[in-house]
Amino acid sequence: MNALALYGRYVATSLRAQAQYPTATLMLTAGHCAATAIEILGVFALFDRFGPVGGWSFGEAALFYALVNIMFSLADMLSRGFEVFGTDFVRTGAFDRVLLRPRAAALQLAGYEVRLSRLGRLLQASVVLVFATNLAPIAWDASTIAIAVWAVAGGVALFAGILVLQATLAFWTVDSLEIMNVLTYGGVQAAQYPLNIYAAWFRQVLTFGLPLACVAYYPVLAILKRPDPLGAPDWLLPLAPIAGFAFLALSFVAWRAGMARYTSTGS
């Protein structure tokens, strides 16, 4: 069975396990939906009180919010194995068993525990997307939908890459992994607003350090058919999400280095 088919097997297994507890899964999903949905209340309240910021109306800002939440919810759902790598695999020695199987470790981790409840975030983001479409308004045609899908793909790659890095950190220390939340949840917090409203230094960080802007800002500009208030060339806007994939590729380089260290020093 090749890697993709095995991945599908893993996912199906995980989903079946959760389907055994339908009410619990529904509760968790609803809870996650509510907990993540309150953020849009904050966004709305601020726009309602202060008026348009950075040249954006609330409806337009809501598109930024919706897309970054969609991409993170998918990455969150699919990267659980990397997220808990430190506590569930390194600390317990369960990673040894992963290495004893004739498959890539990353594949096994990717298939570990696909949590349906994380779709709660996707749910509220989708509702916001509908609202944004009506409010802004947004013209969805073949090209804008394509850009949106492409942006989400790049964003999923980016957030997955961050979680792979978090797992890689666990090869060195199992203690301080919490700090990566700064990049994942912090990243969503920051990118749920259009990035041009922030001070210049922060924008630089989010473009060149952690390329959130490339997946959550530039492509959205292309969808809204607006030029970048900060001057990035128009042709760049729809291409930017590739940075997410580049980031993921780099994360895996670090991951392999971490694995080499693990096999040298043991657990």
Binding site: M1, A5, L6, R9, Y10, T13, A17, Q20, G93, D96, R97, L99, L100, R101, P102, R103, A104, T263, S264, T265, G266
Partner: protein
């Protein structure tokens, strides 16, 4: 051509040194000092296909380290390791497809999945052909009497049941080599016997090479003709268990119940180990005075109710061996 070859294997770890006290902890923040631990030093041995080898040693001796290196999940510092023509840690994926590993008390099966589902998933992971898988699975289920357990989630099984399922899981892909790391630890007596019987069958009837680490000396007695003792990272002995015993304790035990009060006994080559009102436990060197002679000598002078000849417990043999080689717990 040995199936497993280990030559001058060495593994050294660097561990940060922690100075005691508050000032030590603060200094540790600024500058780290390192200490070298030699987990393995110059270990060499080889295994032919179909052998069954027991690996024993005190805690921290290097047994687990050796097994980890042989299974390919740990790199040695120096030395040569070859298993079935492959270097384990360099060819990980190909190598682990050919071996099975069972860790005592830890199960590789998925906690919430029924046993059979776990087996099916493993068959996919190991890319076992469906026909071969079904045959092998049915064979193992029969050998280990897993029929009634197949539909139960692993978390509902007792430890004994889980270990039986674990053995099946490790063998589904028909490995030629099986590593067992303390497989009977925590099991009740019937389960231990079942595991030993299964491993013996596997080795004798199916020719699976088995390398077993254990603290349970009865495992050793039941299974292994050949024993390697590791202590302090070094290989202390390699050979049949009987020669180990002979090299350590040329000693047998004689337990006598007397008709009357137990007498004072002084004979050359004989020590009194324990005494109650009516019985004695003697230790004697059979080279100096053979058992029949000793019994006759005692019975000639005292009325004897019952006699029992024995060997020192295997744990004692091993403990004495560790002592002799200064190989106590690291």
């Amino acid at each position: 051509m040995p199936q497993i070859l280990v030559e001058a294997l060495a593994k050294t770890y660097r561990v940060a040194e922690r100075a005691p006290g508050l000032t030590g902890a603060l200094r540790g923040l600024v500058r780290r000092r390192w200490r070298e631990i030699h987990a393995l030093a110059d270990v060499s041995f080889s295994l032919q296909a179909g052998e069954l080898l027991a690996f024993i040693g005190p805690n921290g001796a290097g047994k687990s380290t050796t097994v980890k290196i042989l299974s390919g999940i740990l790199r040695p510092t120096s030395g040569r390791v070859e298993v079935d023509g492959l270097v384990p840690y360099e060819d990980r994926v190909r190598h682990v497809a050919r071996i099975g590993v069972v860790f005592g008390q830890r199960s590789q099966l998925w906690w919430d999945l029924p046993v059979i589902d776990g087996f099916d998933l493993l068959a996919d992971i190991y890319r076992v052909e469906p026909e071969r898988y079904r045959r092998r699975r049915d064979e193992l289920v029969a050998m280990l009497r897993l029929e009634p357990l197949l539909d139960q989630p692993v978390r509902q099984l007792s430890l004994g049941q889980r270990m039986r399922a674990e053995f099946a899981a490790a063998l589904l892909h028909d490995p030629a080599i099986l590593f067992l790391d303390e497989p009977t630890i925590g099991l009740d007596a019937p389960s231990k016997l079942a595991v030993r019987a299964f491993v013996r069958r596997l080795n004798r009837e199916q020719g699976v090479t088995v390398l077993l680490t254990t603290h349970d000396m009865h495992d050793v007695e039941a299974l292994a003709e050949r024993v390697i003792v590791i202590g302090g990272g070094r290989l202390l002995t390699d050979g049949p268990f009987e020669s180990l015993r002979a090299s350590v304790l040329a000693e047998r035990r004689l337990h006598i119940d007397f008709a009357g009060p137990a007498p004072e006994l002084e004979m050359p080559g004989v020590t009194v180990r324990a005494r109650t009102e009516r019985s004695l436990e003697l230790a004697f060197d059979p080279a100096k005075i053979p058992a029949p002679k000793l019994i006759a000598a005692i019975a000639a002078q005292h009325a004897v109710d019952d006699i029992h000849v024995d060997e020192p417990a295997i744990e004692e043999v091993i403990a004495r061996f560790y002592d002799l080689h200064d190989a106590g717990e690291a």
